[in-house]
Amino acid sequence: MTPLWPPIASHYAARVDGLIWWYTLVVVLLTAPVFILMAVYAIRYRRGREADRRLKRNSSIVIETSWSVIPFLLTVAFFVYATVLFFNLHNPPANAMTIDVEGKQWMWKFEHPEGQRELNDLHVPAGVPIRLVMTSQDVIHSFYLPALRIKQDVLPGRYTSLWFKADKPGRYRLLCSEFCGTDHSLMGGSIYIMRPDDYARWLRTAGADVSLASRGASLFRSLGCSGCHNGQAGSAAPDLAGLYGKPVPLADGRTIVADDQYIHDKILTPNRDVPAAWPSAMPTYANQVSEDQILELTAYVKSLEGSNGGPRS
C-alpha cells in the first residue's frame, strides 16, 4: 500500500501540514493564470488564425509593479507564519525531558535521563515535551522524524538540539537524512511513541543500569579531573559545583553561559574561552575522551549542586 500522506503524530506536524496546504493553494492561484493564459493564447493567437491583434502598449509600469509586489506580499505572510513555527522549534519548554543522542557511522545511540541506553530505536512518552541534545562521533548526520516533521543535523564537536511533543502513540520511522558515507541508507530505526504509563513500564524493563552521572563521576576521577577540580579553597582550578547554567565571566571580557556546549569545549579546547581570574592551565582531552564520555562527564558536572547555592563569582 502506498500512502500519499505521511502520518501526523504531533500538533506541530499538523500545523506544518496546514502551512503547506494553504501555501500550495495560494501558489496555485498565483500561477494558474500563467498556465491558463499560455494555453488560451497559444490557441487563440495561433499563427494563421484570424484574431484581433491590435495592441495598445507593450510595457506598463503599473502592471509590472503589481505582478511583482502582490505575489511577494502574499508570500511574506507565509514567511512570518513559517518562521514563527521554526523559532518555536528552537525554544524548548523549560520542563522538557532531555534525551542524549549520538550519531555515529552508521547508528544512532540514545541515552535516557535515568541512564537507559538504546540503539537505533527510541522510546518516548506521548504528551511530554522531549528535548534531544545531539552530537556526532564522526561525520555530519541528520536526525529525522518524518511523522513529527522535524529534523536537525548532528555535528561532530558541537551540540545541536531539537524538541517535540508527540501526541499520537505508535511506531514511526526514524532516519538519518544527511549523507554520511557507505551505509547512510541503513542508518535508522523506529521511534516508539508510548502512553506515559507504558513508557514507565518500558523504562523499568529496559533495566536502568548505572546512570550517566555516576559513570561520569568515575571518569572524573580516572581522567584526573578531580586532581585539579577538587572543590577545595586554594586549589588550582575552579570549583565546578553549581557551575551548570550559570553565566561565566571570561578573561576577554565576554560572558558565556555554562551550558553543555561550554563544558564540551572546555574538555576539548580548554583555551578557547578562559574564565576570568584563572590561568589557562587546563590541558586538552581532545584525543583521550569520546563523545560518549563527554556526555557522561557533562552529566556529572550538571549533577554537582552548588555548595552555597548563590551565583558564583
Binding site: V16, V34, T83
Partner: protein, 544 residues
C-alpha cells in the same frame, strides 16, 4: 571522399561558411573562431551529458526495488555522486553559455568574434583537461561524497578519489572564469555601432548577468576546494572540528558559490526562452527593460541567499530567518520574467514549431520548480523536506525541466543557423512532447516521496515508497527515449535536411541576417544597428 562525409549537397552559403573554412582536424582543434569553438563545446558537453545520463539510468534502475537491484551501498553512492558532479560542472554550467552563448553573442551584437579568441580556445582546452580528470576518476571507481563534498566526510572519511575529482572541478572552474571574462568584455566593448544597451537581445543580457556570477563566484569555489584538498592531503584542519576547525565554514563557502551557481545554470536558459517567446509570438517581448534588469537583479541578490541550504545544519536561527526572507526576494525577478513572457504571447501570432514547444515546456516546469523552491525557503517546511526527494524534485524541475529543456529549445531554434539545415519539424514536436511527459512522470512522484519522508541518497528504502519509485523509473525511460530522438533526426538532417536559408523562422536579430551557416568572419561588413531588438512589424492592421 573529398568532402566531409556528413554533408552532401552544398549550397552556395555552405561553400564559404565557417564549417568549410578548413577540413583538417587541426583546423578545428586550433581554431579561434567562436563558432567552431562552440561546436567543440557542443561535442564535449554532449559526451558528458551521456555519461551523466548513464549514471542517472543506473540510479533509477537501482531504485526500482527497496532493497537495491545491482549496486552495492558504496556503488550507489558513487553513482549519484558522479551523476551530480558531471551533470553540474561538466554539462549544465557550460551547456548553454559555452555552446550557444559562444556561437551567438558575437553574431547578436554585430561582432566578428569574442574579445579574446585565443582565451576562448584556451578555455575549451582547460575544460577538456578537467574532463580528463573526471574520466580518470570515473575509470578508477569514482567518488562517494555527493556533489556537495561536505566535510568531514569528504576530508577524512570518504574512500573515493576525492582529491582527483576536486582537482577536476577546480580546473574546470578556470574554464568558466575565462568564458565569463570573455563575455563581459565582449558585450562591453564589441557591440556594433548603434547597438546600444537598450537594443541588446535579452539573450545577451542574461549571458552578461551569468558572466558576472561566473567571474565572481567561481574563484571562491576554487579556494574552498584547495582548502579541502589540503585537508585531505596534509591533514589541515580548517573544516575539522577535532582540530578546532568548523565544518559549517565549508558549507558556507561551498554554498556561497553554489547558490549563485544555480543561477549560472538558470539565467542562460532564461535568455534562450526570451528569444524563443519573442520569435514564437512575432512580437517584441513585453516589458523589455524589466526582463533585462531582472536578470541582473537575480545575479546580484543571488549572492545573498546561500544560507537557505543550511536551515537545519546548525546555523543560528536568526541567520536562517534572514536567508529565508531574502530567498523570497530573489523570487520576485523570476516572477517578473514569467509574467512578462505570458504577456508577450497576448495578441501575438504564435507558432507551434518545436523550439516554441520547448519554450512553453520550460515555462511550465520552471514555474513548478521555482514555486517548490519557495516552499523550501519557508523555514518550517524546509525542516521537514530538506535532504529528501522533495529537494531532488525541486532542482530537477528547474535544472532538467528548465535549463535542459531550454538547451533543447535553443538547439532546435538555432540548429538551422549553425548547420544550415532544417530538421523534420513533426519529429521535433513528437520529441518535445515525449520529453515533457517523461519528465513529469519521472520527477512529479518525487515531490510526494519527499513529503512522505523519503531521504535523498538512499538506495535501501522503506518498502512503502516502492510504487512511487517505480513510477519515477518508468518515467525516466520515457525521458531517456525522448532525449534520444533529437540525436537521431538532428544528425540525419546534417546529410538529408533541406537547406535552411538565412532566416527560416522569420525572426528578428542580427544573427538571422547572416547566411546559414554564417561565414568565417560573421559579417561582410560590420552592421549598423538602427532599431530596437525584436522590432517585428505590428500585427494588428491599424495599430499605431
Amino acid at each position: 571522399m573529398t568532402t566531409a562525409p556528413w554533408v552532401n549537397a552544398e549550397t552556395p552559403e555552405e561553400k564559404v561558411s565557417y564549417l568549410r573554412a578548413g577540413h583538417t582536424l587541426r583546423s578545428w582543434l586550433f581554431s579561434t573562431d567562436h563558432k567552431r569553438i562552440a561546436i567543440l563545446y557542443l561535442l564535449a558537453i554532449s559526451f558528458f551529458f551521456l555519461i551523466g545520463g548513464l549514471a542517472a539510468a543506473a540510479i533509477r534502475l537501482e531504485l526500482i526495488s527497496p532493497t537495491g537491484v545491482f549496486l552495492s551501498n558504496e556503488g550507489y553512492n558513487r553513482a549519484f555522486s558522479m551523476h551530480g558532479i558531471i551533470m553540474v560542472w561538466f554539462f549544465l554550467i557550460p551547456s548553454i553559455p559555452n555552446t550557444f552563448g559562444n556561437f551567438l553573442i558575437p553574431l547578436m551584437i554585430g561582432a566578428r568574434d569574442l574579445a579574446f579568441p585565443k582565451l576562448n580556445l584556451l578555455s575549451w582546452y582547460i575544460y577538456v583537461i578537467g574532463g580528463c580528470f573526471t574520466l580518470y576518476v570515473l575509470i578508477m571507481g569514482g567518488v562517494d561524497t555527493g556533489w556537495t563534498f561536505y566535510t568531514p566526510l569528504s576530508s577524512i572519511y570518504a574512500n573515493g578519489h576525492v582529491v582527483a575529482v576536486v582537482a577536476a572541478v577546480f580546473i574546470v572552474g578556470f574554464s568558466s572564469i575565462l568564458t565569463g571574462l570573455n563575455f563581459i568584455v565582449t558585450v562591453h566593448k564589441l557591440r556594433a555601432p548603434g547597438m546600444t544597451w537598450g537594443r541588446l537581445p535579452l539573450f545577451v543580457w542574461s549571458h552578461y548577468a551569468t558572466s558576472l556570477v561566473l567571474v565572481l563566484a567561481t574563484p571562491v569555489l576554487a579556494i574552498t576546494l584547495v582548502l579541502l584538498a589540503a585537508e585531505r592531503l596534509f591533514g589541515l584542519g580548517v573544516f575539522n572540528p577535532a582540530l578546532g576547525g568548523d565544518p559549517l565554514l565549508f558549507q558556507n563557502l561551498f554554498w556561497f558559490y553554489s547558490h549563485p551557481a544555480v543561477y549560472i545554470m538558470l539565467l542562460p536558459g532564461v535568455g534562450v526562452v526570451s528569444e524563443l517567446v519573442a520569435a514564437a509570438a512575432h512580437k517584441r517581448v513585453f516589458g523589455y527593460w524589466f526582463v533585462a534588469y531582472s536578470s541582473i537583479a537575480i545575479a546580484v541578490i543571488g549572492f545573498l541567499v546561500w544560507g537557505h541550504h543550511m536551515f537545519v545544519a546548525g546555523q543560528s536561527p536568526y541567520a536562517s530567518a534572514i536567508f529565508s526572507f531574502l530567498s523570497l526576494v530573489v523570487a520576485v525577478p523570476s516572477a517578473i520574467k514569467i509574467y512578462n513572457w505570458t504577456a508577450t504571447l497576448y495578441k501575438g501570432s504564435i507558432s507551434l514549431d518545436p523550439p516554441f514547444l520547448y519554450a512553453m515546456g520550460f515555462i511550465g516546469l520552471f514555474v513548478i520548480g521555482g514555486l517548490t523552491g519557495l516552499m523550501l525557503a519557508m523555514l518550517a517546511i524546509d525542516v521537514h523536506v530538506t535532504d529528501t526527494y522533495f529537494v531532488v524534485a525541486h532542482f530537477h524541475y528547474i535544472m532538467v525541466g528548465g535549463t535542459v529543456t531550454a538547451f533543447f529549445g535553443a538547439l532546435h531554434f538555432w540548429w538551422p543557423k549553425i548547420t544550415g539545415r532544417l530538421y523534420p519539424l513533426a519529429w521535433g514536436r513528437v520529441a518535445a512532447l515525449l520529453i515533457f511527459i517523461g519528465f513529469n512522470f519521472t520527477f512529479f512522484p518525487q515531490f510526494i516521496l519527499g513529503y512522505l519522508g523519503m531521504p535523498r541518497r538512499y538506495h535501501i528504502y522503506p518498502p512503502e515508497f516502492q510504487t512511487l519509485h517505480v513510477m519515477s523509473s518508468a518515467g525516466a525511460s520515457i525521458l531517456g527515449l525522448g532525449y534520444l530522438f533529437p540525436l537521431v533526426y538532428l544528425l540525419w538532417s546534417l546529410r538529408n535536411g533541406k537547406p535552411a536559408g538565412p532566416n527560416p523562422w522569420d525572426a528578428k536579430g542580427l544573427e538571422w541576417t547572416t547566411p546559414s551557416p554564417p561565414p568565417k568572419h560573421n559579417f561582410e561588413q560590420i552592421p549598423v544597428v538602427t532599431e530596437e531588438a525584436y522590432a517585428y512589424p505590428p500585427l494588428g492592421e491599424d495599430s499605431t
